[in-house]
Amino acid sequence: MTSLSLKSVSKSYGAVEVLRDINMEINAGELIVFVGPSGCGKSTLLRMIAGLEKITGGELEIDGVVVNDVPPAQRGIAMVFQSYALYPHMTVYDNMAFALKLAGKSRDEIDRAVRAAADRLQLTAYLDRLPKALSGGQRQRVAIGRSIVRDPKVFLFDEPLSNLDAALRVATRIEIAQLKESMPESTMIYVTHDQVEAMTLATRIVVLHGGNIEQFGAPLDLYERPANTFVAQFIGSPAMNLIDAKVTATGSQTSVVMSDGGHADVPIASLDSDKGATVKLGVRPEDLTVTDSDDFLVSADVEIVEALGETTVLYFRPKDDAPALIAKLPGIHKIAKGTSIRLTAAPEKLHLFDGEGQSFLYR
């Protein structure tokens, strides 16, 4: 049982700071997913945990021991790379055995560990093959098998599915989920830019952006209670609509009005000082419904209709320079282009963000 803790860890290349003040407690047995747009520092953070990048500030502890200066091999970690990083000149067996050989394990011990891992991943038939004779999915499994063999305290995955095609990606994602289930005691850290992977695999998600942690929490927490506009728009697809609004009443619930006459009473507490402030009203496209009543949230002209059968996605012509508005309605709707439509949403599905983009919930 292994826990990890990062204490105001930072990373800079010369004057360029790519990660700043990262604090995180990871409990044993968790599967943590680092997610964020490319360039957010998520891979760097993982590589710092692996020991492949020097930590330029702060402390990294594994099981209570500071490991900043410990080389990768002695941190008790195993890593699965995006490109799998299989040794092309070694057979599958040798690939899996390499680390154990370096560690000076006995031949029997190595053989037992390799065969057990191969068995678990249905690789026994391919042990004598070179990586180039394997399919993409098989290579992926060898890479995972190579990490299992070492029986590490922490598994690190660096975008392990991004080189697979769509169908294989789903299958392998499920395999990884099953793997995690079969090893409930091992800690895993998983980097991806794909929010579906993040939502389905993670016990907790770290959303990184511009070298900062934007939010750290359980998947549905992030969906239902995003800490800021970045997380709100990053999690969920299509992204959450953000509508400019003005606070008219404060208290245990907050009233806002929009420029086009729409209004809403949001069951989120606000301070007296918020009154009159310009805020962002957040509403997910899938939470919007069409209404005829005067009690609407927004009204807009339909610009594009995407009928997918299962859902109908409406894109509205933005007013002034406001961002485009999207609604995702279940089922089939026959709506002509150019129609003016009024939309509303259940009050408890609404989100409020202040001028800096921070959620009212977390103030």
């Binding site: 900043n68 200066d69 410990v70 080389p71």
Partner: protein, 413 residues
Amino acid sequence: MLSDNPALLGLFTIVIGVGACLAYFFFSNVFIDKVLFPARGPNAGRNINRANMIRPWLFLFPALFALTLYLAYPVFETLRLSLTDRSQGGAFVGLANYRQMMNEAKFWEAVRNNMLWLIVVPAASTAFGLLVAQLTDRIRWGNFAKSLIFMPMAISFVGASVIFKLIYDTRAADQNQIGVLNAIWLKFDGGIGSVIFLQLLPTLLLLAFSVVVAYVAWTFVRGIVARGEDKSLWLLPLRLLVAVGGVWLIWISLNSALGVWITDVPYGEPQTWLTLPLWNNFFLMVVLIWIQTGFAMVILSAALRGIPEETVEAAIVDGANPFQIFFKIKVPQIMGTIVVVWTTITLTVLKVFDIVFAMTNGQWETQVLANYMYDKLFRANDWGVGSASAIIIMLLVTPILVWNVYNARKEMK
């Protein structure tokens, strides 16, 4: 005893030399990891970091040592030697060696010949290489053809010299000629065939060459007057240099074109090709062109293959003919590679020694700098002038050196 048997000695050295190298790398690693900075105890982490700071230098040391001692140091030492006189016990004599060298006709002959080599060999090799690369690109036996044209790369300059000496061989007029060149030469008798092949054709080639030179020179000179060009001051000398060189080349080729018609050609007499002044330089250059064309071809062929097929297909759809496709679509796209090939062959030319040494040894006005230097060094035993001429070669190489370093640094970023 060992030295009696060279094969055994060689084997012995391989084992010792390679073994020593490997042992050095292995044990020095063990030493810093286990003895100097053991990865144990309270300072394990710090020790590992320290070991990792030293290790690159362990790996680099033998190579750096060799590079510094055998290549970097000699550059400066040669420079120093070129300013001293051996016969005066190594006294500093300033630029006396250079002055002495400048006063020698042989030196200027070597410089002139080197200039000719520098223009003709890279140009001809690159042109032939490009031609072969393009022609063989699409035919089925192209790879086979290329490997045969590439083959001279494996032949030593000395071997090639023997090969071409046989071609240039001369026998007395009443004997069968065993050199191909004379055998062909004697077929010409001043008739219509001779006029076409020995007068008309060379004239056309020379005129074409002048036009090309004029065009290249113009593109450089235009930059001084035209708008929208890089007018940086440091480019001005380069532009002027190219312009002057161009005018010189055009003058020479027009002169030669005229000469082709007014010279009395000694038909029917076997020629000793390697003693004909000026011409013999070209006969020596042929040897190097023969060798270097394969090199140019291999690199340019790869570059041609790297051109996106779509651009060629787009040109076909646009109605370009094969020549337009080659000159307007393909050549501009591989211009960078052509420059690389050109400069690489230029370097080879500057160092060319074996061919001249083996074929004429610089007699009959075929001297080049590298052979001149060898002459001074090991025949005249004049280290001062020898070093001075080596420095001249270094100076000629320097622009390419700077250019290469500049490009390599740019690529690394």
